[in-house]
Amino acid sequence: MAADALTTDWYKKSASQTRLAFGQALLTLGALDPDVVILSADTQDLLGVREYIELYPDRFIECGIAEQDKVGIAAGLATVGLKPYVCGYAPFVTARALEQVRNDVAYAHQNVVIGAAASGISLGVSGGTHHAVEDLATMRSLAGMTVIVPADVHEAYKATLAAHEMEGPVYIRLGGRTPEPDITDPDAPFTLGKATELRSGNDVAIIACGSLVEMAVKASDALKAEGINARVLNMTTIKPLDTEAILKAAEECKGIVTAEEHHVTGGLGGAVAEFLAENHPTRMRIVGLGDTFAVIGPTPALRARYGMSADNIAAKAKELL
């Protein structure tokens, strides 16, 4: 993708929300490629695609509140050589339409990109029906599915552009309706399957993705004040996983803490643990939602209650020293 596509205009319009950065990237792609098509299940504003719809009405398909139909249609479009981007709520596109994602998209190996907003507990007050805390487990268990978890708008924008060039289905996990702080280097290229080191250190490693990368950095900074050097890895792609960076961290540090806004089963922590169990058994702590559904409440309060906080990440890191 040409660097000039990375203007500051998209940045302003994304208003520090990854879901809107996804929509801004689609605006760029819509101009570049007449094969780009967007599908919505009454989710036009959720991913900020109104401007795209105005410019390219013939390449926008509104399916109504029908997730299964939307994913099936996307698969059909892909068979004709189009590049469908599915806009949806993470809890519904990954669970309600799971069979369509599995059979029509993944098993049939179609070039469909799923942009899933409102992941994790980003819609905290909407309640448990709207919390997507199993999506990484389901999506990464689908053969051939690429799974990307941007940590901020820069990564969300770049990943959405990069997905256009990828082979096979892609899942991009996006946030909710509140601003997410900038955390990554805007000038860094998006490289599939590569983690980035945000803090160096060899005492302990914290591997985080998405909204908890910020917490991991805060935890590392707090530990630093206590004389503990905690490496922080931003694991932008859960699949393919950066096993090289994980192995290096396991070899050089006393233990690894993973942190994600997801159930502790099957997500980033599970992926890291699966790899290390076979290759370099390592002491670990997995930070995420335990074996429970979260209550209804504001997202920051929920994160704190269920341990998805900088304090808890730091505490778990100290357990490994």
């Binding site: 390449r59 299964q68 099936g72 249609i73 698969a75 059909g76 068979t79 004709v80 050589g81 469908p84």
Partner: protein
């Protein structure tokens, strides 16, 4: 000399008979399979592949080909039997039902997209019509003139996703899309009316914005006339409700849920073929 209408009908009936023979050949090779739903679909498959659909057997991925999706994927023995007869897959395909690892495209209980001529892996029910909507919309966006056919089982219509797709087909006025309902009245467990009633089926499709024709799905003249009439209207997707007989052509398998899926040995094969010979 061009083929007369009578000759066409006779030819298609003969090809349907050959497809039925191929189905029994595949089921015997595999030892078991879905005879009932494959046999009910056969006359329409014959008319599609040997008359209506624009396909190039030697070039199955030709971009402008008409598309066929077997949404009722369990009837794959019928589709495979048709693909062999059409020369889209190699001769002998039907003798390899369920046989893996011989370096050739798989022929299993349900269609697999890796096989030449198969547009989508199906078998999870209620998927085909949405995919067909995508293909028909894709044709429009790409400026292509191909037609998309989706064959749906009657029991399959219990899946709500069909009705999501039905709404979308009507909303986007997909005249280049045809749903073919194989209405054989029997699903895996019992008569469809007992399992979950569908009637009034034609009214349901009409109320969802489709142009509907009801036909005898084993009367080749009616099938050909119906396919000739496509698109049925200038602004609606097309639905053909085919009244069919599950297990058509094998007296012992007709009109019973017991032959939805069943074991097939040499004795049953011989009996079935003998009945087809008499047609």
């Amino acid at each position: 000399m061009p083929e007369t209408r009578d000759e066409l009908i006779k030819r298609l009936e003969g090809q349907a008979n050959k497809i039925r023979r191929n189905i029994w050949r595949a089921l015997k090779a595999g030892g078991t399979g879905h005879a009932g739903g494959s046999l009910s679909a056969t006359d329409m498959l014959s008319a599609l592949y040997f008359y209506k659909m624009n396909v190039r057997p030697a070039e199955p991925d030709w971009a402008d080909r008409d598309r066929f999706i077997l949404s009722k994927g369990h009837a794959n023995a019928g589709l495979g039997a048709t693909l062999e007869l059409a020369g889209i897959v190699d001769e002998g395909y039907c003798d390899r039902f369920y046989m893996m690892d011989d370096g050739r495209p798989p022929f299993g209980m349900h269609p697999d997209i890796k096989v030449p001529g198969i547009e989508m892996s199906t078998g999870g029910l209620g998927h085909g019509l949405s995919i067909g909507v995508g293909m028909a919309l894709g044709a429009r966006i790409k400026g292509q003139a191909f037609h998309t056919f989706v064959m749906i089982g009657d029991g399959e219509l219990h899946e709500g996703s069909n009705w999501e797709a039905a709404m979308a087909g009507a909303k986007y006025r997909l005249t280049n899309l045809t749903a073919l309902i194989d209405f054989n009245k029997i699903s895996q467990s019992a008569h469809v009316a007992e399992v979950m009633g569908l009637e009034p089926l034609a009214d349901k499709w009409r109320s969802f914005g489709w142009e509907v024709r009801e036909i005898d799905g084993h009367n080749m003249t009616e099938i050909v006339d119906t396919l000739d009439a496509l698109p049925f209207s200038g602004n609606k997707p097309n639905c053909v409700i085919m009244h069919t007989i599950k297990g058509k052509g094998a007296s012992f398998a007709e009109d019973t849920h017991l032959w939805h899926q069943n074991a097939v040995n040499q004795e049953i094969y011989d009996k079935a073929i003998a009945e087809l010979e008499t047609v």
